[in-house]
Amino acid sequence: MAHIKLNNEELPGIRGLLDFRPETAKPLLALAETLLRGESGLSSGEREIIAASVSFKNDCHFCHTSHAAAAAAHLQTGLGLIDEIKAGLPDTPVSDKLRALLNVAHQVQKGGKHVTDDDVAAARTAGATDQEIHDTVLIAAAFCMFNRYVDGLATWAPQPNEAYKEMGERMAFVGYGKS
């Protein structure tokens, strides 16, 4: 049970919180929409992988599984991608640039000051632009917020990967804050 009395306790994860407080829901959804579906050198699928991977490091089941399902929808991989992200994508065909950006994102997850000149230089060597590095840091930072919001209020989340299929497709193709 959530720490506070939500208006609709059937809504999982962040959805119950967005419904509880529409004033804060509006900028939160606009942020997710801009970060994950707005203009960027990175594809939406790559950005959802970054979001899902950081959420996994933060041990947020709802955010990890839903955003990994969104990545799977964008990239048409099937839901196996959810567990591949948990494993660190050892055999998944992703670019060296994305791997270097994931390293930057994982440093941000630990704390902003963990990002070193070497981490950034490695991303640049792999072809990342300044804006892609910026967007990676902000996506990772934003999921350190979303994850704490969802778990800090003890929202409920469906367990199996399959329960996130439709949600991921909606996040990918309809968007955030659009019904």
Binding site: L31, V115, H134, R148, G152, L153
Partner: protein, 189 residues
């Protein structure tokens, strides 16, 4: 030096807002709702104290100093209370309700799952409402984002108390949506 070429001379998060206006908009709208807009029960000064406290736990120099300055101005020029909260929140001259909310904020900073039912019921016993508990968790979570954004890109964070006080006075009065003043155009003593 910042990790990327920001092509402007603003400090901290302001340099990132100028660099990428698309993401600045929702980030600024969020902080405006969380900390500045009228709230049913939590005064802006108390919300700024929560933001300052979490930024200090995350050791983000820019965010701690700018929100500390905004808190000071929102609290009626009360620098002592800001300092006391950062030194030891349990003995600071703030309400028992705010102390309980600051304890929740510290738990959120260390990880969402660290917030316990006991933390929440302790806040409730001091009179905290569900909206106050919700907003405390979200403010603390949001500053785990802003702090990482500011430090993760190694933004310029000048060490100058007068500068933060001037910027803080502007934000306390105008909110977060107005353009920042260039540091080079500030009349600093």
């Amino acid at each position: 030096m910042p990790h990327i070429n920001l092509s402007n001379d603003y400090p901290g998060i302001r340099s990132l807002f100028v660099y990428r206006p698309e993401t600045a908009k929702p980030l600024n709208d969020l902080v405006q709702v969380l900390l500045h807009d009228p709230h049913p029960t939590l005064p802006a000064g108390e919300r700024e104290l929560i933001a300052t406290y979490v930024s200090n736990l995350n050791t983000c120099y820019y965010c701690t100093n700018i929100h500390g300055a905004i808190a000071k101005h929102q609290l009626g020029n009360d620098a002592e209370t800001v300092k006391a909260v950062l030194t030891d929140a349990d003995t600071a001259p703030v309400s028992d309700k705010l102390k309980a909310l600051l304890r929740i904020a510290a738990k959120v900073q260390s990880g969402g799952k660290n917030v316990t039912e006991q933390d929440v019921s302790a806040a409730r016993e001091q009179g905290a409402t569900d909206i106050e508990i919700h907003d405390t968790v979200l403010i603390a979570a949001a500053f785990c984002m802003y702090n990482r954004y500011v430090d993760g890109l190694a933004t310029w964070q000048p060490h100058n108390d007068e500068l933060y006080d001037k910027m803080g006075e502007q934000r306390a009065r105008e909110g977060y949506g107005t353009p920042p003043i260039k540091v080079s155009e500030m009349k600093l003593t």
